[in-house]
């Protein structure tokens, strides 16, 4: 699905990470972890072809990144809609299905009417799937952050993507909802063989679903199974400072002593959170 070879990326003239080799196969659930500003979102954008690489290569669905946009779902980090935006949640989901097609739906002809019906059914399905039916008809700007997030996950899913990039999808959800959405995404991954690349701050809500972890820190990347990567040795090497990983009695992983993200002069101010 996704293949990166010797990849490196830069932002604002500074190399964020380099030497990244990564392969994501069908139905795999991969988490991208790391401190703020490490370049997690950049990794996702590079994979999508929205940002260029400075070295190496990236292939998405067998083609150079950026050329195959149809079968790829994307949920960017922390989008919030203008509170007055007069477009229903359902319409935003629908845009994920046919928003890239020119023109407007033309349901006067028979074929147009059938396509319109199919589109509505599909949108209804994914809205149900993410549990957003109760508020999908309200203007998206009037919904809470968590409600918007569920609808955006539905938008990313609506065209039955083969690979799904989710940038901090659990971000504005409370703990029960984090667990619910994590198991929802895990289920989609297992049942429909969709590959999932998910950026997360906390690995615990998705630990049970994960196949692989990509940990970005200090310009380097460590990849492997969660229990290989999230260990005192690997993380200490990555951060070049002693890190302790503690496993709690209920199986949660707690990282102790994780340092602040490397200081960049003024770089944080330029960090864009849409």
């Amino acid at each position: 699905m996704l293949v990166m070879r010797g990849a490196a990326a830069a932002a604002g003239g500074r190399t964020l990470w380099s030497g990244v080799d990564l392969e994501v196969g069908a139905g795999e659930f991969v988490a991208v972890l790391g401190p703020n500003g490490a370049g997690k979102s950049t990794l996702v954008k590079v994979a999508l072809g929205l940002l260029p690489l400075t070295a190496g290569s990236v292939e998405l669905l067998g083609r150079p990144a950026g050329s195959s946009s149809r079968r790829v779902g994307y949920l960017p980090q922390r989008r919030s809609f203008d509170p007055g935006l007069a477009v229903r949640g359902r319409d935003v989901v629908r845009l994920g299905l046919d928003g890239h097609r020119w023109g407007v739906p033309f349901p006067l002809l028979l074929a147009g009417r059938r396509r319109e019906r199919e589109a509505r059914t599909r949108v209804g399905e994914v809205v149900d799937l993410v549990g957003a039916s109760a508020y999908a008809d309200r203007p998206i700007g009037s919904l809470s952050g968590g409600e918007q997030q569920r609808l955006l996950i539905a938008q990313a899913l609506v065209e039955r993507p083969e690979i799904l990039f989710l940038d901090e999808p659990l971000d504005s959800l409370d703990l029960p909802n984090q667990a619910a959405v994590a198991s929802l995404i895990g289920g989609i991954c297992r049942d429909s063989g969709v590959a999932v690349v998910m950026v997360a701050h906390d690995v615990n809500p998705i630990l049970g679903q994960l196949d692989r972890v990509v940990y970005i820190a200090g310009g380097r990347v460590a990849a492997g199974s969660p229990h290989e990567v999230i260990t005192s040795e690997t993380l200490s090497a990555l951060f070049s400072t002693p890190i302790e990983v503690v496993t709690t009695s209920d199986g949660r992983l707690v990282v102790v002593g994780e340092p602040e993200a490397p200081e960049v002069h003024g770089g944080r101010h330029g960090h864009e959170h849409r």
Binding site: L50, Y74, V87, G99, H100, G103, V104, P105, I140
Partner: protein, 325 residues
């Protein structure tokens, strides 16, 4: 100079003759009064060619402005729209000054300003959005200054200012109506063609870009489309009234419904309602049509905001009841 002659004919004494009560009637006849008999009043409205022309032009302007305005309000580009409208004023005044047709002035100025506005990258909420409004504001301020200068440079031009700002609804020629209609059909066809990708890029630019929608190009295309629509309408409505027709029906429609298709249709319907009723009432009144159009537009917006308030209060009550049960 023919442009100026037309301008002056459409304003000053001629304008009052046209707008004033009974001026179109033979001397001594009583002025038209809005009587109890609506049918005969309507009949009277359509009896004069200039009134039919005004209604036809008003209809085209209302549909064009309401449709383009709906997208403008959705994209939060009302400020850009206002600037394009204001820029038409120095464009038209400058064209008159150098002896060019007024239409050339409107189109030249509006499209040029649209390109300037579009050249600034447009972000979602962040800093680039601020950059856009700063550039837009700068363009607007300069345009007004230039307009005032042109008016001053041209001796005796002051009568025309009125028409440039508030339009010459009742002094429109047939060929103007046809030209307006041609531009409107082209602009609306383009709007339909851009359709969904434009909505996608307006609502959700990040995902749209990832799905291969040319977000920057659409943004440019829309601002130019807005400029063309404003230029075409300004020739009829003047630089100030066009903005009212762009923003009021669209904002009212977006208060009432969050369904894109329905909202667009409602915006056009409200635009027509405002324009027709404004022109009809102005015919029976001594006050200018621009005043009625703007006031009715504002009233429609207030009603829409009221409807929204009531329906939100009701859904809150229903939700509270649901929780209580």
């Amino acid at each position: 100079m023919s442009a100026l002659a037309h301008l002056v004919a459409a304003t000053a004494p001629a304008r009052h003759a046209v707008l004033g009560p009974g001026a179109h009637l033979p001397h001594g006849a009583p002025p038209p009064v809005l009587g109890a008999n609506l049918v005969s009043d309507l009949h009277e409205l359509f009896a004069y060619h200039f009134m039919v022309t005004a209604l036809a032009a008003g209809t085209v302007v209302a549909v064009l402005a309401a449709a383009v305005g709906w997208v403008m309000v959705l994209r939060r580009q009302s400020f850009a729209g206002h600037t394009l409208a204001v820029v038409g004023f120095p464009g038209a005044a400058g064209a008159t000054l150098v002896g060019l047709p007024i239409a050339v002035g409107y189109f030249g100025a509006c499209v040029a300003a649209a390109l300037v506005i579009a050249a600034v990258p447009r972000g979602r909420a962040g800093s680039s959005r601020g950059a856009e409004s700063a550039v837009t504001g700068a363009v607007q301020a300069f345009a007004l200054a230039a307009g005032v200068l042109f008016v001053n440079l041209y001796n005796g031009f002051l009568n025309g200012v009125d028409a440039l700002l508030f339009g010459s609804f009742l002094g429109i020629t047939d060929s103007q109506v046809w030209a307006l209609t041609a531009v409107a059909v082209g602009a609306l066809a383009l709007l339909v063609l851009l359709g969904r990708p434009l909505l996608f890029a307006s609502v959700d630019p990040d995902v749209a870009r990832a799905r291969g929608v040319p977000v920057r190009a659409l943004s440019l295309a829309f601002v130019v489309l807005l400029g063309v629509a404003v230029a075409a309408a300004s020739e009829i409505t003047g630089s100030l009234l066009v903005f009212a027709l762009l923003v009021m029906p669209a904002a009212a429609a977006q208060q009432v419904t969050a369904r894109p298709g329905l909202g667009l249709v409602l915006s056009v319907a409200l635009g027509l309602l405002v324009t027709w009723s404004g022109l009809a009432v102005a015919y029976f009144s001594i006050y200018p049509s621009g005043f009625y159009l703007t006031s009715f537009g504002f009233a429609v917006y207030l009603v829409a905001a009221g409807v929204r308030g009531v329906s939100e209060a009701r859904s809150r009550r229903v939700a509270a009841l649901g929780r209580g049960a």
